[in-house]
Amino acid sequence: MKDKNVIQVEDLSKLFGDFAAVNQISFQVKSGEIFGFLGANGAGKTTAMKMLIGISSPTSGTATVAGFDVYKEAESIKKNIGYMSQKFALYDDLTIKENITFFGGIYGLSKKQIDRKRCELVDELGLQEVANSLVSSLPLGWKQKLAFSVSLLHDPKIVFLDEPTGGVDPITRRQFWEMIYKAAHNGTTIFVTTHYMDEAEYCDRVSIMVNGKIEALDTPKKLKAHYKTDTMNDVFLKLARG
């Protein structure tokens, strides 16, 4: 039973002084699931995510990610997950190839593996012509797609995506999500936060945080039925307002 849950969180809290940024949240994420982690700015999403990816220690509660304990085995967590955020993904002043080589090295891949993956990646994304150009010359959508691929270089069990499609045009956004579907289909668990409520619909299950607590957790279909709305956007509005 336990191995099926790649993320297991129980009563996890993070306090800053008196203020509970994350207030006793509990949930599980199954292997291969696309899990949407939603909430308004300041609801505690980012704080919670930081605890799960091993860069922030919780105040109380328990959590395991990829089977590792967030308190004691944070380093192992970092080795077994991929991470990509809107704010930073790749180095602008390195070329595409150099970025892939660099991150491959950081994730501990052998030179042979890196070379192979690099070729695969460049081919898959159709970047042959620009492979030796600086990442800064790529349009935003390409950068994000490349960053996502790079986060998967070491075949992690889970990938954490922090608002990965902000500002990207609608076509590329969907191509991005098709890449996510493919990765999930291949067994990678996807943990994603987003401001685009329509993207919430793509997830297998969605959790919504309000003021540090998880106020809703279910499939998009069931949430819409429960709150008697047509869209996830309206579910969110009802929850956040109330």
């Binding site: 308004a40 700015n41 959508g141 500002g167 289909h185 329509d198 619909e201």
Partner: protein, 300 residues
């Protein structure tokens, strides 16, 4: 007192930010500029607020030419650039006072214009702007842009990075402002906000794809559109991508939006094909194209 743009072109070195842009905004209209990052929205705003000079083309704002009469424009427009530029270390009240003063007016004089918005942040008026939440900063920035009763209001991505609740409230405020005779030009990457404008221009890579009212613009979608769902989204996408008659497929929430290459779509045939690919629970039904569908089709 509207906006008129004719054949505006602007490049930065080798990159063309805007390419032959033309459109008009009628006085008192709420006009949306819809497009993703890099479409050229901010460049266009900076040209219209006289902060940048276009390489080619002309534009007038409130009847004044952006090149020759820029001073008059700067006296009579309200501008909210991205990142709601406020003075972080001044309080809410001090910020508002400052902007009122440099425009030669006072908070009291035009208070009725900003009242709806300002009352929501008034309880925090002695708090430093840097310590406000995103939604509150947004409201403050809007108030500061309005306090001198501008004829034209330029809002550059005012809802980016703000939670959906605040976004909704913001647009409600804009609608109320419209009634007070202010021409508003808003840019946003969120397609669902486009529906709230009087008219919209879809823009990508420096070019305008289409201009019309939100209702009419979806009529530019060339083909019938279908919602398709099945038990496995990924399998569905894969199957349809490999299908010989597929013209376009895009995931849309729990459905896939599908258009067929042929004029007459064969629903049964498609269902059979999908079942042969191992999919079950298949639903196919016609649906109305949204602004986003139209955008993607025009942007191809």
């Amino acid at each position: 007192m509207g906006i008129s743009v004719s054949n505006i072109t602007k490049s930065y070195g080798k990159v063309t930010a805007l390419s032959d842009i033309s459109f008009d905004v009628k006085p008192g209209e709420l006009f949306g500029l819809i497009g993703p990052d890099g479409a050229g929205k901010t460049t266009l705003f900076r040209i219209l607020t006289t902060l940048l000079i276009a390489d080619k083309g002309q534009a007038t704002v409130a009847g004044y030419d952006v090149l020759k009469e820029y001073k008059s424009i700067r006296n009579s427009v309200g501008y909210m650039p991205g990142r709601f530029s406020l003075y972080q270390d001044l309080t809410v009240e001090e910020n508002l006072n400052f902007f009122a003063t440099i425009f030669g007016t006072t908070i009291e004089e035009n208070y009725d214009l900003v009242k709806d918005i300002y009352v929501q942040i008034e309880p925090f008026k002695t708090r430093r702007a840097g310590k406000l939440s995103g939604g509150m900063k947004q409201k403050l920035a809007l108030s500061c842009a309005l306090i001198h009763k501008p004829k034209v209001l330029f809002l550059d991505e005012p809802t980016t990075g703000v939670d959906p609740v605040s976004r909704k409230e913001f647009w409600e405020m804009l609608k109320r402002l419209q009634k007070k005779d202010i021409t508003i030009l808003v840019s946003t990457p969120y397609m669902d906000e486009a529906a709230l404008c009087d008219r919209i221009a879809l823009i990508q890579d420096g070019k305008i794809l289409q201009i019309d009212t939100p209702n009419a613009i979806v009529r530019h979608f060339p083909k019938p559109l279908y919602n398709i769902s099945a038990n496995d989204m990924y399998g569905l996408i894969e199957s349809l991508t490999n299908h010989e008659h597929t013209y376009s497929i895009f995931p849309f929430g729990e459905f896939v939006h599908y258009t067929d290459k042929r004029d007459l779509m064969d629903r049964e045939g498609l269902k059979d094909y999908l079942e042969s690919q191992g999919l079950t629970d298949i639903h196919i039904e016609k649906t109305q194209p949204t602004i986003e569908d139209t955008f993607m089709e025009l942007a191809k």
